[in-house]
């Protein structure tokens, strides 16, 4: 059963990983960090990534179709993950579904030269599940 640190260290073993964090997107709090962050500042990065995650989670445009009807209790974010790319790195944000009320995501920062976005996306999704379910 991994804790936050084990989960982040596992994420860091992905090819090209530069840094990883668990962030709360309502408050912008970094619950745990490992490796590097853009500008060397994990806390600022967490607050900025939280803003992006919040917009994605809150805006209807990014929600799946079935959300229009009933049956969605609003507890889970409608978005699974977010990908941001720039000239040299990728940012991958993966929302974590929990059985208690929360607004948490995993943030992985990886280089474009070594990173494999498809692999990272799959693995980060698995880690998000294991983090909460054990």
């Amino acid at each position: 059963m991994p804790g936050i640190d084990e989960c982040l260290l596992e994420a860091m073993r992905l090819p090209g990983a530069l840094g990883a964090a668990v962030v709360d997107w309502t408050s912008g709090l970094a619950l745990g960090t490992v490796g590097d962050a853009p500008g060397g500042d994990h806390e600022t990065t967490a607050a900025e990534a939280a803003e992006l995650a919040r917009l994605a989670a809150e805006h209807r445009a990014f929600a799946p179709d079935e959300e229009e009807g009933t049956g969605w209790d609003g507890q889970d974010p409608p978005v699974e993950d977010l990908i941001v790319s720039n000239r040299d790195t990728y940012h991958l944000l993966r929302f974590v579904r929990t059985t208690f009320d929360s607004s948490v995501f995993l943030h992985l920062w990886l280089t474009r030269t070594d990173g494999n976005l498809a692999l990272a996306r799959i693995r980060l999704g698995e880690m998000a599940g294991r983090l909460v379910l054990g």
């Binding site: 309502t26 507890q75 929990t98 909460v132």
Partner: protein
């Protein structure tokens, strides 16, 4: 935990810590609290001597409160961190538990405790929580017990607990008008989960204040009973804010709403400030007496049930307090409120 609405678990924390060299007795004398080297710092001493904990710089000879220093954060806490103290810091709005100068646990009546957060979502039932506290509380290993039981994963407990710790600490480190005390040796029954350095906690608390201020500068929605404002055309509200809005009933405060939703209270404050900024929530018109001015002209078309502040120019005031279907007027009204709150 004691002040929380759900049936409180037993509180083994009140038991004396296993006999050590450090006396668990409450500190009433400053000399108990500080090593002799610290006695040169008069501002620190006042915190334990029955005066409100000042926001004055540590080590200042004259205790002149300086507004430049971040208000409300605790010089006492910094010193306890430096001396790697173990015990509990009791402040007006809750407690911080330290082990070796790091924060292990925080609780505040303003925000739901870990028990509420874990049971509301259905992860645990109250029965099991009680059993865990009963079985492992005396050993101060409740957290470990929950994980070992297989009912809660380590990751889930850490996520929930660290979130709750920063959440409660935000309120504990809020402005206070009562003396703070530190009880050496007291250890929380939850046991270690994921300790947080004091410096990180203080940085985060200041960042959170700035965040709230940036969203909407008026802190009124943080503590007062709330009502839904009559918005002419209610814009779509994101799901988590919608859950908060659904709890607004004219009587509940942010703390009540957090308990009802099983949600950390700082999250509720954020959502309420956003809702207030959108003009969807405001504080309930309390039984506050209207500020009646002697020069008040009789206005026949005064709004029913609204105690608007009647200033010298009552016609403008009446226009601004009247519930209006015109979005421009409600915007102006909110703008005015925001400017007044600055």
């Amino acid at each position: 935990m004691t002040a929380i609405g759900t049936p409180p678990p037993p509180l083994p924390v009140r038991r004396k810590p296993n006999g050590g060299a450090q006396a668990p007795a409450d500190l009433t004398s400053p000399a108990d609290l500080t090593s002799p080297a610290d006695l040169t710092s008069p501002t620190d001493l006042t915190s334990s001597a029955g005066r409100p904990e000042p926001a004055a710089p540590v080590g200042a000879v004259t205790p002149a409160p300086s507004p430049a220093v971040p208000p409300g954060l605790s010089p006492m806490l910094n010193r306890l961190a430096a001396e790697r103290a173990t015990g509990v810091l009791l402040r007006e709005h809750g407690r911080l538990y330290l082990v070796d100068g790091r924060i292990m646990h925080a609780e505040s009546p303003e925000t739901p405790g870990l028990d509420v957060l874990l049971t509301m979502g259905g992860l645990l039932d109250t029965e099991f929580w009680r059993e865990a506290v009963a079985q492992a509380g005396a050993r101060r290993r409740v957290g470990r017990f929950l994980v070992d039981s297989g009912r809660v994963s380590e990751g889930a407990l850490e996520l929930c607990h660290v979130g709750a710790l920063f959440d409660a600490a935000y309120f504990v480190l809020g402005p206070s008008s009562a003396p703070a005390r530190f009880r050496y040796g007291a250890v929380h029954w939850l046991g270690p989960v994921r300790p947080v350095p004091v410096a990180a906690l203080e940085r985060e608390t200041l960042r959170r204040r700035a965040l709230l201020h940036r969203i909407w500068p008026d802190p009124a929605t943080d503590s007062a009973p709330l009502v839904r404002a009559d918005a002419p055309a209610e814009p779509p509200v994101p799901a988590r804010q919608g859950a908060v809005l659904g709890q607004v009933n004219g009587a509940r405060t942010a703390a009540d709403i957090s308990r009802a939703l099983g949600r950390p209270a700082f999250h509720t404050l954020v959502d309420l400030r956003r809702l207030a900024a959108a003009g969807l929530v405001r504080t309930a018109p309390a039984a506050a007496p209207p500020q009646t001015s002697p020069r008040r002209p009789s206005i026949a078309h005064g709004p029913d049930g609204l105690d608007g502040p009647d200033g010298p120019d009552a016609s403008v005031s009446a226009l601004l307090t009247e519930p209006s279907a015109d979005p421009d007027v409600s915007l102006l009204r909110r703008l005015r409120d925001a400017l007044e709150a600055l």
